[in-house]
């Protein structure tokens, strides 16, 4: 068989079912094999960035490897943003790229780019195939590497000569290239964790994306209940514990809830699971949980102590660690403790709830989320783009299940939401998928509306249309004395017409009272449906910790209640 067939055999043996991509000259040998393979569904995207994000959306829903492909040169560079996005959020995707024949490498051949070099720092691992014989092995290794340990993107660059070259495949001799094993933790380690948790006066749990990735939401919730301990979540852990759970406190950090930031600042023990303590989470490091012993659990040893010093660092996946902690905790008895701290957090939580109902027009973004909450089906998967709408969704949207809120967290990639929604819908065809979108983001990837229509992938786009970059405006207002530049646009862009021109349906919404009906109509339509919502330009709609400022010193949004952490001062 030829190298291209070797790759496809590898994909099939890894149980790959879907690939998102765009063909091109150097990718043709592989595409010709896709043509012969009815069990591998190819979804033709309109831009390679969309292909990578769709692979991410697929993967984020299922926890399986998402597959994407582009040709050499610009096809590969267009994939780069999505690969970098997957790298930041530890999403297992495998990207295949066409490449010019080996003997033309370095000759500035047509559509030649050093894809291997470009993607070296943004992949967990990458390959450039040097001979046809490696096609099957490298493909299967790519899947294994992508999923093992801390997941991440893997790229295979496929020079055209290696794809057309013939070789003999012997599957019986196949075995994965061995990867490094995770260290085993003794029971004493978890026993010590439980002692610390049980003896803490003011414990808090911080859950990160690692909890979602390890499918450890249930264990997290059980531990919180056992300890009666509040859980703060990072954006990638949204839904790991249902946001409606009484112990779920919500979002931490730069755009987090005031109660969360004050509680973390005042806790004496922080159990941090599967989080890398990014700058958006911690703010000023010296003021982050200054009085707490931090127990940091992460599957990636290099995360421990990278940003935040720890009292105990444990290398483990979130599920194994939480299960072990639960098992030890079940044997020990939690003393009836003075739960003053919990009462104080609870009081602050109540104080921190703002009124997000409003009749204002244009519509306040938080009000849109409130209206969506009212009609959102329990099994709906929500994706977001990046910006104000994303922060409002993260803050207020009810998410009851893990892997049901997909957002570009670390990389902050505008244009993630729509293609990710396509991938999500392909992964879960029986569930409604909604892209909570902003006009600035949507226009970056609006061509993927055509992808959804042409491939019959129904989804709803809830467009928070405020005619500009809301969050950038907020920063210009707060930090650049209100000098707005390059943040207002789109007065003449009609998104409904845009959607209709590609065969989708669209409707405009101008009053809060119309949102629920419009969203229901869109979701029920089982079509690609855009709801264009006239959204107010809220300069300061959200609490904001200035970059590297203290998390407890937030600039408040115009509708935020002023929460007074006096409860904690009483100590």
């Amino acid at each position: 068989m030829n190298g291209a067939r070797g790759v496809v055999e590898g994909l099939l043996d890894e149980k790959a079912e879907v690939i998102f991509g765009i063909p091109g000259g150097a990718a043709l040998p592989i595409y010709d094999e896709f043509h012969k393979e009815p069990n591998l569904r190819h979804i033709h995207m309109m831009h390679e960035q969309g292909a990578a994000h769709a692979a991410e959306g697929y993967s984020r829903v299922l926890g399986k490897v998402g597959l994407c492909m582009g040709t050499s040169g610009p096809g590969a560079t267009n994939l780069v943003t999505g690969i970098a996005d997957a790298f930041m959020d530890s999403v297992p995707i495998v990207a295949l790229t066409g490449q010019v024949p080996t003997k033309l490498l370095g000759k500035d051949a047509f559509q030649e780019t050093d894809t291997f070099g470009i993607t070296l720092p943004i992949t967990k691992h990458n390959f450039r195939l040097s001979k046809s014989e490696d096609a099957y092995q490298n493909t299967r290794d790519a899947f294994n590497i992508s999923l093992s340990g801390r997941p991440g993107p893997v790229l295979i660059d496929l020079p055209k000569d290696t794809m057309v070259g013939e070789f003999e495949l012997n599957k019986e001799q196949f075995k994965y290239t061995q990867l490094k094993a995770l260290p085993q933790n003794s029971n004493e380690v978890f026993s010590k964790v439980v002692d610390l948790l049980f003896n803490a006066e003011r414990p808090m749990i911080l859950a990160g994306g690692g909890v979602t990735i390890a499918n450890a939401g249930l264990e997290l919730t059980k531990l919180a209940e056992l300890l009666r301990c509040y859980v703060a979540t990072t954006i990638t852990a949204r839904g790991a514990i249902p946001t409606t759970h009484p112990l779920s406190l919500g979002q931490i950090g730069m755009h987090g809830r005031q109660v969360v930031n004050h509680s973390i600042a005042n806790c004496d023990l922080l159990l941090a699971v599967g989080t890398r303590f990014s700058d958006r989470i911690t703010g000023n490091l010296e003021a982050f949980a200054p009085n707490a012993k931090i127990i940091h659990i992460d599957i990636d040893a290099t995360e421990l102590g990278k940003n935040v010093p720890f009292h105990m660092g444990i290398v483990s996946d979130a599920k194994t660690a939480l299960q072990s902690i639960l098992a030890v905790a079940a044997q020990k008895k939690l003393q009836g403790k003075d739960n003053l701290f919990r009462q104080r957090v609870k009081a602050l939580d109540v104080e921190c709830r703002c009124n997000i109902a409003s009749d204002d027009t244009p519509i306040r973004p938080e009000t849109i989320i409130k209206e969506i909450n009212e009609i959102l089906p329990e099994n709906a998967i929500v994706t977001t783009e990046v910006g104000h709408h994303q922060m409002f969704a993260t803050h207020f949207l009810k998410v009851k299940n893990p892997r049901h809120f997909l957002t570009s967290a670390g990389a902050g990639t505008m244009g993630f939401g729509l293609p990710a929604a396509i991938g999500a819908k392909v992964a879960a065809p029986d569930q409604p998928v909604i892209d909570i979108s902003g006009d600035g983001s949507l226009i970056m990837v609006c061509q993927e509306i055509a992808t959804a229509v042409e491939n019959d992938i129904p989804l709803t786009i809830a467009l928070f249309n405020n005619g500009g970059y809301g969050i950038v405006q907020q920063w210009q207002k707060e930090f650049y004395e209100g000098r707005k530049i390059a943040v207002e646009f789109g007065k003449h862009t009609d998104f409904v017409k845009l959607a209709q021109s590609m065969g989708a349906e669209g409707i405009k919404v101008e009053r809060p009272s119309e949102i629920q009906e419009a969203m229901k109509q869109a979701i029920m339509s089982d079509k690609v449906f855009l709801v264009d919502i006239a959204t107010s330009t809220v300069d300061n709609g959200m609490p904001l910790v200035p970059p590297l400022g203290k998390n407890t010193e937030m600039l408040l949004g115009q509708h935020c209640p002023l929460v007074n952490p006096r409860y904690f001062d009483a100590e």
């Binding site: 291997f116 070099g117 070296l120 720092p121 967990k124 691992h125 990458n126 390959f127 450039r128 040097s130 590497i145 990867l179 490094k180 990636d300 040893a301 290099t302 102590g305 990278k306």
Partner: protein, 76 residues
């Protein structure tokens, strides 16, 4: 900062050296010397770099994290 020395054994495939070097480049960490030689199917790479405790910890961690690295030894 004092010079530290680390010896990395890494599978010899396309890009073995760039994988190591980009760990330093991305973070703006300096390199004083690099020596590499091929031993069978692997490359042994000796890197001498100025480092404090934090830089050393990051470099060792990242070298260990490379999918293709087989052994990482540090010597002062």
């Amino acid at each position: 900062m004092q010079n530290k020395k680390v010896i990395v054994t890494i599978k010899d495939s396309v890009g073995a050296l760039p994988r190591i070097i980009q760990i330093f480049a991305r973070r703006g960490f300096a390199i004083e010397e690099v020596h590499a030689k091929t031993i069978g199917e692997n490359k042994e790479v000796i890197i001498i770099f100025p480092a404090d405790e934090y830089i050393q910890k990051i470099v060792l961690g990242q070298l260990n994290k490379l999918v293709d690295s087989i052994e990482v030894k540090d010597e002062v």
